[in-house]
């Protein structure tokens, strides 16, 4: 007896509804996609910054750290930590003359762009200062009036943390409270 064969069914899945769905989803997602990641750097006005606790200094205490970084056309001046940067005494500055930059531009003379500033040395110096003052978290940036914003942001990055000196659980935090101050030097 001949066995009746079943008609072969078409094995194609009907994908059209899924196609419809995906075609609608894609324009929506393209609109909501963000191809550049944004982040923010916090800063406050110097006058209303985080309150500084004024404690009577103990006799054996180190003098409080008043770290400032002046960003000038010819380099960076590190102020307020002379005893660490110059263990043998700060260089003499003649009266009426400006203090030479602690970290001059790599090319000498006037810095031409962001990379011309000596960021690596600044990072080293800040690490040294942090070693001496592990509890201090404030730094004041004093840019000159023609300093570009890009340079200020880079100085904030360097002052906030050191990615290479991390201890396993992220970069080493240096001075996270960065305040941008007024006047140029």
């Amino acid at each position: 007896m001949a066995v009746k064969r079943k008609a072969i069914e078409d094995p194609d899945l009907n994908l059209t509804p899924i196609m419809n769905l995906v075609t609608i989803l894609i324009p929506f997602l393209i609109m909501a996609a963000q191809f550049v990641q944004l982040s923010v750097i916090d800063s406050t006005l110097p006058a209303i910054g985080p309150p500084t606790e004024v404690e009577p200094p103990k006799p054996d205490d180190k003098p409080p750290l008043q770290l400032s970084l002046a960003l000038k056309g010819d380099g960076i001046v590190v102020l307020g930590a002379d005893q660490i940067i110059y263990p043998d005494g700060a260089p003499e500055v003649a009266e009426g003359e400006k203090r030479p930059p602690t970290l001059p531009c790599k090319s000498g003379g006037v810095c031409t762009n962001v990379e011309d500033y000596d960021w690596d040395s600044l990072q080293q110096k800040l690490n040294l200062i942090k070693d001496e003052y592990p509890d201090d978290e404030n730094v004041i940036l004093v840019p000159a009036s023609d300093t570009q914003y890009e340079i200020i942001v880079r100085a904030m990055d360097i002052a906030r943390e050191d990615a290479e000196a991390g201890t396993g659980d992220g970069p080493r935090t240096l001075f996270p409270f960065v305040v941008v101050a007024g006047g140029a030097m």
Binding site: I26, L29, S145, Y149, E150
Partner: protein
């Protein structure tokens, strides 16, 4: 004479969309990955290039102040046109705020608008009784990377006078 038309053999009219489905699935996954519901957005232009930074903090909603080459905008509305002036020390031509816009250290037009925004936000905060909506003096600053500090200083001073003391500098996150 009756002629019989030769029938064409039936052709399967189904379009094969399998390969297209494959492609769409990959695009969908990629787009879902870059999906972000962030409240802060930048409109990049030739006049506004943000600097890169290693900062990791996510932006939050606040008054949006943009300083690009040529003008200052508050929440997308142009407030002030910037001029260009040669710097006294270096002689380079840099963006500057026109002298007649300055009232002492303040930028007059900018102060008026920011003060109004602050008052609005305060009223809103008081009426809502929601501590999340209370006025905290936060302001997002999107600044072109070549902007000289003199312009930034005046803007920051003016914002401070108008009760905005918590600056958030918007930057591109470094990969």
């Amino acid at each position: 004479m009756a002629t019989k038309k030769a029938r064409r053999p039936e052709v399967d009219t189904n379009l094969n969309i399998n390969s297209m489905m494959d492609m769409m699935t990959i695009i969908l996954v990629f787009l879902l990955k870059s999906y972000s519901a962030s409240d802060v957005s930048v409109a990049p232009s030739d006049n506004l290039t943000l600097p890169f930074s290693s900062a990791q903090k996510a932006p939050e909603v606040a008054v949006n102040l943009v300083i690009e080459q040529g003008q200052i905008l508050v929440d997308g509305v142009p407030v002030l046109q910037l001029g260009r002036k040669a710097d006294e020390e270096s002689g380079k031509e840099l963006a500057s705020i026109p002298e007649d816009e300055m009232q002492g250290q303040n930028i007059g037009k900018l102060y008026d608008i920011l003060f109004e925004k602050a008052e609005q936000a305060k009223t809103l905060g008081e009426r809502s009784n929601n501590p999340d909506l209370a006025f905290k003096g936060r302001i997002l600053l999107q600044v072109d990377r070549e902007m000289p500090y003199s312009v930034l200083r005046s803007v920051m001073y003016t914002a401070g006078q108008a009760q905005f003391g918590e600056f958030k500098f918007v930057v591109y996150k470094q990969e």
